[in-house]
C-alpha cells in the first residue's frame, strides 16, 4: 500500500513538472513575443479600418434622402467585396510586389512560399508580420479609398457603374499609386512622405470622385432656375454624425496601425490624430458660422474628416502643436472648397471632394512644412524646421503626379462607361429613388418621401403612403 502511494505521488510530481520542463526548453523568445504583439496590433488596426466602412455607410445614408438609403448600403457592401477580391488577385501584387518603379510584377493571388515573402513583396519587407496580416491591413485601405469615390456620386448613379469602376480602381488604379509611394516606386525613391495615405488613399479616391461627378452631372433639383445651388438636406443628421464618429475611431487603426508594429510610437500618432480632428471640427464650425451665421452640423463632421485626412500623411512626423494647425486649416480649407465646388456646378452631396481631396492635398503638403528633424524617418525635415523647399517640392510633385494620374485614368473609365452603358439612372428612377428601382425595396418601407414626379402620376411606382390603393385599409 505504501509502495502504491509512493508510486502515485511520483507520477503526479512528474506530470506537474512536465510543462515546466517543456517551457524551459521551447519557451517563446522575446522576438517571438514581439512578433505576436505586432501581429495582434496589425489585425486589430485592420479591423478598425474595415469598420470604417460602417462609418462611410452611416455618413452616406445620413446625407442621402430616405428614398436612396438602400442603394447606399448595397453599394458599400458590393464595393467591399470587389475590393477584397481584386486586391487579393492582382492589386496587392501591383502595389507591394517586387518590380520596377511603376508597378509590382510578382506575388499574384498571394501565392508565395512562406520563406520567399520578403523577396516577393519587397515593398512591405520592412515589417515582419505574417503576409496575411499585411494583406488584411492593406486591403482595408483599398476599400476605404474606393468608398470615397462614391460620396460625390450618390443618388443618381447606376449600380453597374459602381461595380465596373470598383474592379478597375481596386485592381489597377489604387495599387499603382500605392506602389509609387509605398511599394518601392519612383516616389518612394524620391522620399515622399505619406505615412498613412493622405495622397494614396484619400486624394486618389477624391480625384476619381471628381472625374465621375463631372461626367455624371448634378442631381435633378440641385440647381435652381437661376443656376444657384440649392441645399438638398440629408434625411438623418444623427446617422451622419454617427458615421463621422465611427470614421474618427476607425482612424486610430488607420494612422497608428500604419506603423505595422506595436511600438510606443502608436500613442504619439494617436495623439496627433486626435488633436487634428478636434481642431478640424472647430475650424469648419467657425467657418460655417462666419459664412452663414449658423453652426452647420454636417460641416462640423466634414471638418473632422478633412482634418483626419490631412493628418494622415504627417501623423508620425509632426509635433502635437503642428497637428492642431494642420487640422484647423484643413477644416477651414474644406469649407471654402465645398462652397466653391458647389458654386461651379459640381454636385457633391457628401463633400468628399472638399474633405478628402483638399484635405489630402493640404495634409500631404503639410508634411513638407511641419516635419521635425527628429521624426523624419523618411525624407527630409519640413520647411519650418530648416529643411528647405526640397521636401515640399517632392510632396507637391507627388500630389500632381498621383492626383493627375487617377483623375485622367478615372475620367477615361467613366467616359467609356458613359458612352457605352450610361452612368446615370433614368429621371423617373432618380425622382422615385434608387431603392425601389435598383434593389426592389424601400430603405424605410413605411416612411418614404419621393420627389414631385411621384405626385403627378408620371411614376410607375405606387405611392407607398397611398392607403386607398387596393389591398390596403
Amino acid at each position: 500500500m505504501r509502495r502504491l502511494g509512493l508510486l502515485t505521488t511520483m507520477v503526479l510530481m512528474l506530470v506537474l513538472a512536465l510543462p515546466g520542463l517543456a517551457l524551459a526548453q521551447d519557451g517563446p523568445t522575446v522576438a517571438d513575443l514581439s512578433l505576436a504583439m505586432d501581429t495582434v496590433w496589425v489585425l486589430i488596426a485592420a479591423v478598425f479600418v474595415l469598420f470604417m466602412q460602417a462609418g462611410f455607410a452611416m455618413l452616406e445614408v445620413g446625407f442621402s434622402r430616405m428614398k436612396n438609403v438602400g442603394s447606399v448600403v448595397a453599394k458599400i457592401l458590393v464595393n467591399l467585396a470587389i475590393a477584397a477580391m481584386l486586391f487579393w488577385a492582382v492589386g496587392f501584387a501591383i502595389a507591394f510586389g517586387t518590380g520596377n518603379a511603376i508597378m509590382g510584377t510578382q506575388g499574384w493571388f498571394l501565392a508565395v512560399p512562406q520563406n520567399a515573402v520578403n523577396d516577393v513583396y519587397a515593398g512591405l519587407s520592412w515589417t515582419q508580420v505574417p503576409l496575411s496580416a499585411k494583406f488584411l491591413f492593406q486591403v482595408a485601405f483599398c476599400a476605404v479609398s474606393l468608398a470615397i469615390v462614391w460620396g460625390t456620386m450618390l443618388e443618381r448613379t447606376k449600380f453597374a457603374v459602381y461595380v465596373i469602376f470598383a474592379v478597375v480602381f481596386a485592381g489597377l488604379l489604387y495599387p499603382l499609386v500605392g506602389h509609387w509611394i509605398w511599394g518601392g516606386g519612383w516616389l518612394t525613391e524620391l522620399g515622399m512622405q505619406d505615412f498613412a495615405g493622405s495622397t494614396v488613399v484619400h486624394l486618389s479616391g477624391a480625384m476619381a470622385a471628381l472625374a465621375g461627378t463631372l461626367l455624371l452631372g448634378p442631381r435633378l433639383g440641385k440647381y435652381n432656375d437661376e443656376g444657384r445651388p440649392v441645399t438638398i438636406p440629408g434625411h438623418n443628421m444623427p446617422l451622419a454624425v454617427l458615421g463621422v464618429l465611427i470614421l474618427w475611431v476607425g482612424w486610430y487603426g488607420f494612422n497608428p496601425g500604419s506603423t505595422m508594429a506595436a511600438t510606443p510610437q502608436i500613442a504619439d500618432i494617436a495623439l496627433t490624430t486626435t488633436l487634428a480632428a478636434a481642431a478640424g471640427v472647430l475650424g469648419a464650425m467657425l467657418m460655417s458660422y462666419a459664412y452663414r451665421r449658423h453652426v452647420d452640423v454636417g460641416m462640423g463632421g466634414n471638418g473632422a474628416i478633412a482634418a483626419l485626412v490631412a493628418i494622415t500623411a504627417p501623423c508620425a512626423f509632426v509635433a502635437p502643436w503642428a497637428s492642431i494647425v494642420i487640422g484647423f486649416v484643413a477644416g477651414v480649407v474644406m469649407y471654402a472648397t465645398l462652397v466653391f465646388v458647389d458654386g461651379i456646378g459640381v454636385d457633391d452631396p457628401l463633400g468628399a471632394i472638399a474633405a478628402h481631396g483638399m484635405g489630402g492635398i493640404w495634409g500631404t503638403l503639410s508634411a513638407g512644412l511641419f516635419t521635425t528633424p527628429e521624426l523624419a524617418a523618411i525624407g527630409r525635415p519640413g520647411l519650418f524646421y530648416g529643411g528647405g523647399l526640397y521636401q515640399l517640392g517632392i510632396q507637391a510633385l507627388g500630389i500632381v503626379a498621383c492626383g493627375g494620374f487617377v483623375f485622367l485614368a478615372s475620367l477615361a473609365v467613366f467616359a467609356t462607361l458613359k458612352a457605352t452603358i450610361g452612368v446615370r439612372v433614368k429621371p423617373d428612377q432618380e425622382l422615385d429613388g434608387l431603392d425601389i428601382h435598383e434593389h426592389g425595396v424601400y430603405g424605410y418601407p413605411d416612411l418614404v418621401a419621393t420627389d414631385y414626379q411621384n405626385g403627378n402620376g408620371a411614376s410607375k411606382i405606387p405611392d407607398p403612403l397611398d392607403r386607398t390603393a387596393e389591398g390596403t385599409v
Binding site: 461626367l215 452631372g217 435633378l220 433639383g221 440647381y223 435652381n224 432656375d225 443656376g227 440649392v230 467616359a415 458613359k418 458612352a419 457605352t420 452603358i421 450610361g422 452612368v423 446615370r424 433614368k426 429621371p427 423617373d428 432618380e430 414631385y452 414626379q453 403627378n456 402620376g457 408620371a458 410607375k460
Partner: protein, 93 residues
C-alpha cells in the same frame, strides 16, 4: 398617366421623355416647365458627340431644342424611340 417609352436626363434639370404621341421636354428646378412636341411635328433628331452628347430636336414650326451633356446610349434611345413612333404614324420622311 402612361409611362414614357424612354426618357433621359440632360444638363441643367432638363429631362426628355418620349411618349407614343409626343415628346415632352421638362425643365426647371422642380420640373415645372413642360414643353410637349407632337411626334408628327418633329422634323429631325440629331446627336452630336460621343461622351457628352448634344441631342437636337427640330420641329416643323422652326423650333430648335438642344439637350446637352447626355450619355450616348440615352441619346440614341431617345432618337430611336422618336423615329420609331414617327414610322408608326407613317409620317417619317
Amino acid at each position: 398617366m402612361e409611362p414614357p417609352i424612354t426618357q433621359a436626363t440632360a444638363r441643367g434639370n432638363n429631362v426628355v421623355a418620349v411618349y407614343a404621341d409626343r415628346v415632352e421636354l421638362r425643365s426647371g428646378w422642380q420640373g415645372q416647365h413642360v414643353e410637349a412636341i407632337s411626334i408628327r411635328d418633329v422634323s429631325a433628331v440629331r446627336i452630336r458627340g460621343v461622351i457628352n452628347c448634344a441631342l437636337t430636336i427640330l420641329d416643323n414650326n422652326g423650333r430648335h431644342f438642344e439637350l446637352q451633356r447626355m450619355a450616348l446610349p440615352d441619346a440614341r434611345a431617345v432618337k430611336a424611340a422618336i423615329e420609331r413612333q414617327k414610322q408608326k404614324a407613317s409620317t417619317y420622311e
